[in-house]
């Protein structure tokens, strides 16, 4: 973003402000000096202590001060400063969106719910002190429900950082079924890592024992993996020079920590990224479009408050795409249960209603696909499930 002109305008403000304050200092200095001079005259000039002379000195001082005209001296620098002070906010208004609340729908936005979301966010990010402080201050006691599971997760991750897999293995064993249900082989991966650790630190015999106890249950699904691990036994003590040196890479630890984080959240019924972060990030991306929309809808605030669907698409990055949305290229309708997407025999996809229209509601008569030269039959169209 081009910020240079804004910076220049701001620098002008500070420059004028410095000028103005040094001018004030100067004027005060001048006044002080004049008065001090008058005082010394009064005290040391012989005869000054007599009535007429001291009057004279005071009148002289008065005239002098009027000549200095301190306030009008300040005026010109002050004026320049004022110009700079008005210019800068105007430039800000021009360069930025001066009111981002224009697209805010004035609905009941329950602050209690918002507070719960925030407390969960703090716990999910591992900021337990902050979360506790917030829960206390905002009186969002119910939100503490998430504290314990997230705390457990961070304890596991913390242990993994110091190369201790015990808590992770314990958790994986308790949640073995759920992990399998998710299609995750996290448990095996943890055991693999532990096996390599045992082999490196405690030698071949213990590693073999470990494999017998913990790896054998995975034999049915992961035979190839286990074979590789067993071959590692041959290189005990010099694994780094073996064909299996890759098992020692520290990236395994990082990757596994990430996967554990993901699986842990999933099993808890949470997203692995804080939903608050995700929503705010989507809001930052969507807000500019919404504000443009509001400019067009000016004076239709009422409609904005009540519409059921945004009139324009808000483009978000693919990381915010959580659901398949099919828009019929002919009717531009979003597919729904009543109007599902259908695959034509040529491979193009349209919504059911469009097909009904194109075939003139005659299911036996073939019609031409709008996207290729092929003739297709309604009866051969298949419903799709995304």
């Amino acid at each position: 973003m081009e910020l240079n002109s804004i910076k220049d305008t701001f620098d002008r403000v500070t420059k004028k402000q410095k000028l103005s304050s040094s001018k004030s200092q100067e004027v005060i200095e001048q006044l002080g000096q004049e008065i001090e001079q008058a005082v010394s005259k009064l005290q040391f000039v012989p005869g000054a202590m007599s009535q007429p002379d001291h009057k004279l000195i005071l009148t002289e001082l008065k005239t002098k001060l009027n000549e200095i005209a301190p306030l009008s001296q300040l005026e010109s620098t002050q004026k320049e400063l004022n110009i700079a002070l008005t210019k800068y906010p105007k430039l800000l208004e021009k360069s930025f969106n001066p009111d981002i609340s224009k697209a805010y729908r004035n609905v009941d936005f329950d602050s209690h719910t918002v507070n719960q979301i925030i407390a969960n966010h703090f716990y999910q990010e591992g900021l337990f002190d902050l979360g506790d402080c917030f829960v206390n201050e905002a009186k969002a006691i119910e939100a503490t429900g998430m504290r314990i599971p997230f705390l457990e997760m961070y304890q596991i991750l913390h242990a993994m950082k110091s190369r201790n897999l015990e808590p992770a293995l314990k958790w994986a064993a308790t949640n073995s079924d759920k992990l399998k249900h998710n299609g995750s082989d996290l448990e095996l991966k943890l055991h693999r890592l532990q096996f390599v650790e045992v082999l490196q630190n405690r030698g071949r015999d213990e590693a073999l024992d470990y494999a017998r106890t913990y790896l054998s249950p995975f034999a049915s699904d992961h035979m190839a993996e286990i074979q590789k691990l067993m071959a590692c036994l041959l290189w005990a003590g010099r694994l780094d020079t073996s064909p299996y040196f890759e098992f020692l890479s520290p990236t395994h630890w990082e990757k596994l920590a990430k996967e554990l984080n993901r699986q842990f959240c999933n099993i808890m019924g949470q997203s692995h990224q804080s939903p608050l972060s995700v929503t705010i990030a989507a809001g930052v991306q969507g807000l500019p479009t919404l504000l443009k929309l509001m400019n067009v809808m000016m004076g239709k605030k009422q409609e904005w408050q009540s519409m059921k669907q945004l009139p324009v698409p808000v483009d978000l990055d693919r990381e915010f795409q959580f659901h398949s949305v099919f828009v019929c290229p002919v009717s531009r309708d979003q597919s729904s249960e009543e109007n599902p997407p259908m695959l034509l025999s040529c491979g193009h996809v349209l919504c059911k209603q469009s097909i009904t229209k194109l075939s003139k509601n005659n299911s036996t008569r073939p019609f031409k696909c709008p996207y290729c030269p092929l003739e297709v039959e309604v009866s051969k169209c298949r419903q799709l499930y995304f």
Partner: protein, 418 residues
């Protein structure tokens, strides 16, 4: 780009002039959706971020200047008064002048201190400009993280959760990027109003008199009315009348109706059952004053009335909300799979799509020309990547994860989505 009928049985949306809607849609589509444009657009939302510290800075400058002006003219006036005073003895003259000198020295010190404050505040304004400038593609995720923290601090400050605000600022070391000291000013007033104390609020009104007048604020009037009510509540009727003469009468020209209504409480007691007046004695009037003050305060500093968090949350929820979010199999990664988010999104509009966006059920990745969708014989669609991998692992066999159907990889066909 064609103008499509705004459908989905949505009358409110359809009421938007079609041409206008199409114009925005075209603008949205025409803009290169590059990351950089997106970043610039998001930076343009940061008006308040630059405006608030500037207003604070301006306020300090003005206050310092006013103090200097006042003292200087007082000094000049005092000298001319001394000169015109025929009876002033020489000793008294020396004494008076000396006291003037020390006053001017005091002013000098005060201005030096004021200048230091000005300098610090200017630095803060500058730091924010630098922070905006520092956002680029390389540090984006960290920058976005800081933005979320800023937004959260803004929320805490507006909701008066000061402890959390301070803790968050300290732990993330962003003192220059948040407005804690601006809100400290508000905190004093709000704390006082909560214990039914109006003096700090009135002092604040006096401090910002000219600007409040410009925006036709009636906060001061409302505060005065409340003080009057409290006098009536205590049955100090005579005092109440004196108070009304002094502080309420000047507002008569513009706010006669309210004035009449409130002064009529003299005829009723705080125990009145008459609804029109009963409500004036209710304690929630004080909460209302707090709200009024917050609004004026935000207006003065160029802040939005709503916490930034609420604004971004709403925009995000509208952009994310689809009918699919409310289905049982909604992925947990979607914020709208959670009850609390659903509740907040409930009164908000659904998003709209002009183009199909298909997400693979297995990999959760977008299916596009590089990773085209494939159709199983049963009509279920998955991405090429997912099915290829599955076929490789299982000797060319595919198992549909949703129906359990087993088929050959050669049985799947490509679907063309436009």
């Amino acid at each position: 780009m064609e103008v499509e009928p705004l459908s989905n049985g949505n009358s409110a949306a359809a009421a938007v002039p079609n041409a206008a809607a199409a114009a925005i849609a075209a603008a949205a589509a025409a803009a290169p959706s590059s990351k950089l444009t997106q970043l610039t657009e998001s930076l343009k939302l940061e008006h308040q971020f630059l405006r608030v510290p500037f207003e604070h800075y301006k306020k300090t400058i003005r206050a310092n200047h006013r103090a200097a002006e006042k003292e200087i003219s007082a000094a000049v006036a005092s000298v001319s008064e001394a000169a015109d005073d025929g009876d002033l003895s020489p000793d008294a003259a020396v004494q008076r002048l000396n006291s003037l000198v020390s006053r001017l020295q005091g002013l000098k010190r005060k201005l030096e201190e004021g200048s230091r404050t000005e300098h610090l505040q200017a630095q803060r304004c500058r730091a924010r400009l630098d922070h905006l400038e520092s956002a680029d593609m390389d540090n984006l995720s960290e920058w976005n993280n800081t933005r979320l923290k800023r937004i959260l601090v803004d929320y805490m400050l507006r909701m008066s959760y000061y402890d959390t605000a301070i803790k968050l600022v300290e732990s993330s070391n962003i003192p220059d990027l948040v407005d804690i000291d601006v809100f400290n000013e508000a905190k004093k007033v709000i704390d006082a109003l909560q214990i039914k104390e109006v003096a700090p609020a009135l002092a604040w009104c006096a401090d910002n008199k000219s600007r409040l007048k410009k925006s036709k604020s009636k906060l001061e009037f409302q505060l005065r009315l409340q003080e009057f009510i409290e006098l009536v509540r205590a049955e100090n009727n005579l005092q109440a009348i004196t108070y009304a003469r002094k502080y309420l009468a000047p507002w008569g020209a513009t706010h006669m109706k309210e004035l009449q209504r409130v002064t009529a409480t003299l005829a009723f007691k705080s125990s009145t059952e008459c609804a029109t007046y009963k409500v004036l004695f209710e304690p929630k009037q004080w909460d209302y004053l707090v709200e009024q003050f917050k609004q004026e305060f935000c207006r003065l500093y160029g802040m939005t009335f709503e916490p930034l968090l609420n604004i971004y949350l709403q925009a995000g929820l509208s952009a994310l909300k689809t009918p699919f979010c409310y289905e049982d199999d909604c992925t947990k990664e979607d914020p709208l799979s959670q009850e609390s988010f659903r509740k907040l999104a409930q009164p908000l509009p659904y998003s709209k799509q002009h183009h199909s966006k298909l997400v693979c059920y297995i990999t959760k990745e977008l299916m596009d020309t590089e990773n085209p969708p494939l159709v199983l014989p049963n009509g279920y669609v998955y991405s090429t990547k997912a099915l290829e991998e599955m076929a490789k692992k299982n000797n060319g066999k595919i198992t549909c994860p949703r129906t359990g159907l087993v088929c050959n990889y050669t049985d799947v066909v490509k679907a063309y989505i436009s």
